[in-house]
């Protein structure tokens, strides 16, 4: 600390008044540039904003934007979003743990191939598969249902790989002890391996949440009418509605922003852990 060697530029060591001033200006500028637009959104959601130019000059606190957003069915869209993220996340976590248990703990023929298949799905995002995916979705009768937005995100290579890496670190001896006590596979999985995975659950939980909340193309392909819209999808409709106005759009956007930001702030440590560990896996 403070010896000038705790960071690459050694900025922390510079304590002169001029250096402090420059640093303050730089930090302030960075906050304005990166968090400013989001802050403007928040302020705009609570003020009368007749058009985009009055984002900063508007005055007067009001909740009217929210009440009008509710009139436009925003709560329904929000409920859809929560159902999709809730269901999708539960499924994704269950599927990841289950698959990871196999990949980390079992030796079986074709294991390398399975691993490769899981990895390869990282190169097959919804975007690239959009057209055939929409056909498959309608073949299996998932278009027009929230399930159609939930099941496809149930398996995510990132979660499976993070979980697999984590499970490999759990000592095998614990499992063997339980097996000697006569516990079967499911029992070992449920009462020995699962409780040990809690820290990793936090990582895949927060990443899964952000990933599903950010989904756009999949809900777009699945939804057949506004009733199934998630909140991110609904924003576009609200924008093109002449009667709605900027304030209402901002109120809805704020509702779409808050859950992911709150989740991030609550689970920041796990998020950072996943960012570095998951990224290494490519």
């Amino acid at each position: 600390m403070g010896n000038g060697f705790d960071s690459a530029l050694g900025l922390t060591a510079r304590r002169g008044p001029l250096a402090v001033l420059v640093k303050l200006v730089v930090y302030g500028l960075l906050i304005v540039v990166f968090a400013g637009p989001l802050l403007a959104l928040m302020v705009g959601a609570f003020t009368k904003v007749p058009d985009p130019t009055s984002l900063f000059s508007a005055g007067g606190f009001t909740l009217e934007n929210f009440t009008r957003a509710v009139d436009r069915g925003v709560l329904g869209y929000l409920a859809n979003s929560f159902l999709v993220v809730g269901g999708g996340l539960l499924l994704q976590i269950a599927v990841s743990i289950s698959a990871a248990y196999s990949l980390a703990r079992k030796r079986f023929p074709l294991m390398k191939l399975v691993f490769l298949l899981v990895l390869s799905t990282m190169m097959l995002p919804e975007e690239v598969l959009a057209i055939p995916l929409s056909l498959v979705l309608s073949e299996v009768d998932l278009t027009g249902t929230l399930l159609g937005m939930i099941i496809p995100v149930g398996a995510w290579a990132f979660s499976i790989l993070v979980m697999t890496e984590f499970m490999k670190e759990i000592p095998v001896e614990l499992e063997e002890a339980a097996r000697l006590d006569g516990a079967g596979d499911l029992r070992v999985f449920w009462s020995v391996v699962l409780p040990l995975c809690r820290p990793a659950l936090g990582v895949i939980g927060i990443f899964g949440f952000t990933m599903i909340w950010d989904q756009y193309l999949l809900p777009l392909l699945v939804a057949t009418d506004a009733q199934q819209f998630t909140l991110p999808l609904a924003l576009r409709t609200l924008r093109s509605d002449e009667e709605v106005g900027v304030g209402v759009l901002l109120a809805a956007a704020l509702l779409a922003l808050l859950p992911s930001v709150l989740a991030f702030i609550a689970m920041q440590r796990q998020f950072m852990r996943g960012l570095t560990s998951g990224a290494v896996k490519g």
Partner: protein
């Protein structure tokens, strides 16, 4: 995985004891228990089944269909007609497609490069363990966790092309003229790119920070003792140590860069006058709005091929670089 790894060993002690507790019935009736044991050859597959089923249905099956469709003229109700590689040929002569490929590449290169450079600058500026730095980092990181749909709506408003729009006001104070941003063919692609960098740089910053944390502090000290300037130290100590980070970021960029869709769809939807049309928005329009499924599929397969090729190239470069170091 280091952090999580140590977490495992730290918590391993507790349930270990639990497993030893007599809660599980001891040996007397092992045979009955074994009936419920899945540890046979089938067991790994049962645990993998849900994941593989979902991947098969929503990843591999659509991919197979894309290949199939790309070789046919897709005619609903009439049956598909085999056209060989015609769809692919068409992609390469179609002016819209060629323009879209160009925009995609410009956007991917610009966003990747911009995010990496700005991300590294941010990481260097905000490195350190002080609490106030943590606060600034968190604020800077926020764009990354916000859904793209929200980001797009915010920037549409920020970019409002009137002279008193938000960004134009700032430009005005600095003495630059008002810009049309998303509304003009000359500026639209750059405006979209700026949003991509705004959202991508903080992500790269965090990965750089993780890399910076791993740099040997003694090297900094040694460089200082040798009288090296900060810049020389940065160039000769820090940058080489960050090589793995660059490799990671290029790999991620290779996978993500070419498939941009949501931001374009929401910011400009390819306009004005096609100036921001990228592969994915064009494929979406061809496939879902104009019913040109075969050509859309061919475009998708080409996009996929480019992604795979890029990923392999980055891997190869990475392996070669590692061999050189070793």
């Amino acid at each position: 995985m280091q952090a999580t790894g140590s977490g495992a060993t730290a918590t391993a002690v507790r349930p270990g004891r639990r497993a030893g507790q007599p809660a599980l019935p001891p040996a007397p009736a092992p045979r009955r228990r074994r009936r419920f044991d899945l540890s046979g050859a089938l067991s790994p597959w049962l645990f993998l089944a849900p994941a593989l089923a979902i991947f098969a249905l929503f990843k591999f099956w659509p991919m197979a269909q894309a290949v199939q469709m790309s070789l046919h003229e897709v005619r609903p109700y009439l049956g598909d007609r085999w056209v060989g590689l015609d769809n692919y040929a068409q992609v390469f002569v179609d002016e819209d497609f060629l323009a879209a490929i160009g925009h995609t590449v410009v956007l991917a290169v610009g966003q990747t490069g911009g995010s990496i450079l700005l991300g590294m600058a941010l990481a260097l500026l905000l490195e350190g363990s002080a609490k106030h730095l943590w606060v600034v980092r968190t604020a800077v990181f926020l764009p990354t966790v916000v859904a793209m749909a929200v980001v797009a709506e915010v920037w549409r408003i920020m970019y409002y092309p009137a002279p008193d729009g938000a960004v134009n006001s700032v430009l005005g104070w600095l003495g630059f003229g008002p810009s049309q941003f998303l509304n003009s063919e000359d500026t639209s692609l750059w405006s979209v790119m700026a949003v991509g960098i705004w959202r991508g740089a903080p992500y790269d910053m965090m990965i750089f920070l993780a890399g910076l944390a791993g740099v040997d502090r003694n090297l900094y000290e040694a460089a200082a003792v040798d009288g090296a300037s900060v810049w020389r130290r940065l160039w000769h100590v820090t940058v080489p140590a960050l090589r793995p980070v660059f490799a990671i970021l290029f790999t991620l960029a290779a996978i993500r860069g070419l498939r941009v869709f949501t931001e374009i769809f929401l910011l400009t939807n390819g306009g004005p006058n096609g100036s921001t049309e990228v592969m994915m928005t064009l494929i979406y329009k061809l496939g879902l709005e104009r019913g040109e499924l075969g050509i859309a599929a061919a475009g998708s397969i080409l996009l996929l091929g480019a992604t795979v090729l890029l990923t392999l190239l980055v891997r190869l470069a990475r392996a070669r670089a590692e061999r050189k170091v070793a």
